[in-house]
């Protein structure tokens, strides 16, 4: 996908203009992708301030590596690779990565919950159910890093399997198996919360 289709300037053109010395074109790329980049980063690192740092560092890195970009490929796939690696590095260095050992036992159980239950689907609804948000964040934090990256790229960013495979440098089959595992863990966390 090359953004800018809705009347905007295509990514490739902005990159060429940036390489010609116009930082304003790069500012446009930052504005275009910062929201999605933040959503992916916060999904991986969990903390909002850490995610802001990750997004900032990734854009700076992208700026200095821009001459390595291969025209014809997707900027955002190329950029997301930097972003995800930066986020995983950040996660490894953070204290939170050591705080959340995965414990299978708290996810177990298959009792039938009441039929009337509905999961929140908007930030506003979820904000009123902080416990569920915390439970889900705990489950996300407990996932292995690359499984977390896969579920965030798929569910938060809506990326296709082949795009995720390009970003993470793995096969589509690996993406699917990681997604299956991650989705299963999140599902169990949601079910456990619903039953609790």
């Amino acid at each position: 996908m090359n953004e800018g289709g809705k009347g905007g300037i295509p990514d490739d053109a902005l990159i060429r203009t940036t390489l010609a010395g116009d930082d304003g074109a790069f500012a446009e790329l930052v504005e275009r992708y910062k929201g999605r980049a933040f959503a992916v980063a916060v999904g991986i690192v969990g903390d909002g301030d850490d995610a802001l740092d990750v997004v900032q560092d990734s854009f700076i890195k992208a700026y200095y590596k821009l001459k390595e970009f291969r025209f014809g490929s997707n900027f955002y796939t190329w950029f997301y690779r930097l972003l995800v690696n930066q986020a995983i590095d950040r996660w490894r260095k953070s204290a939170r990565s050591a705080e959340v050992p995965f414990d299978e036992s708290w996810l177990s159980g298959d009792a039938s919950p009441p039929d009337s239950f509905a999961y929140p689907r908007t930030p506003e609804d979820l904000a009123r159910n902080r416990e569920l948000g915390d439970a889900l964040q705990f489950a996300v934090d407990a996932l292995p890093e690359y499984h977390r990256a896969v579920i965030v790229l798929r569910e938060v960013d809506g990326m296709a399997y082949d795009e995720i495979a390009k970003v993470l440098g793995c096969s589509v089959g690996t993406v699917m198996s990681r997604l299956h595992y991650a989705r299963g863990k999140l599902k169990e966390a949601l079910k456990t919360h619903r039953e609790g």
Partner: protein, 158 residues
């Protein structure tokens, strides 16, 4: 459809890979099976709840996110300044340093376990013809014993 098949279909549905006929069959099973229905509801909710969670974080950090280009530009400027401050010689100094290290390693590191480190007293650079088709540049020790070639480069005579 039994529960086992239903669970597989639920996963396929979440991936958007469930054919329409199978989806209808699954819906029929879910209507009469609370356990599979709960499973389906949870797996269907995983994506939206995760998006809602990142949405909350984004709302909390909206002002900082608005100023992202300011932060990025500051980082770019900082990088430029750092590059300006480091003199070009510092960036290339590794080349002569590596060459010096290589010569030292050749001179003082024993090649075999039964050999002592080599400490030459004098050096000479010789250009010699070998079989009259190659020029050889050699660093030669003309110490007390026989001349000893320490370092040699062969190249086309031209």
């Amino acid at each position: 459809m039994d529960c086992r098949a239903a669970l597989m279909s639920i996963e396929a549905k979440a991936d958007g890979l469930l054919p329409r006929e199978a989806a209808a069959e699954l819906a029929g099973h879910l209507a009469g099976c609370p356990a599979c229905s709960a499973e389906d509801a949870a797996i269907e909710a995983a994506g939206p709840v995760l998006r809602a969670l990142t949405g909350i974080r984004a709302m909390e950090k909206a002002p900082a996110l608005d100023a992202m280009w300011t932060r990025v530009r500051a980082g770019i400027e900082e990088g430029r300044e750092a590059r300006r401050r480091s003199p070009w010689i510092a960036r290339w100094v590794w080349i002569p340093a590596a060459a010096a290290l290589a010569v030292f390693a050749l001179l003082f590191y024993p090649a075999g376990t039964d050999r002592s480190p080599f400490h030459p007293s004098t050096f000479d650079v010789a250009v010699e013809d070998v079989e009259s088709d190659v020029a050889t540049v050699a660093l030669v020790d003309k110490g007390e014993d026989l001349p000893r070639v320490i370092w040699i480069i062969e190249d086309a005579k031209s």
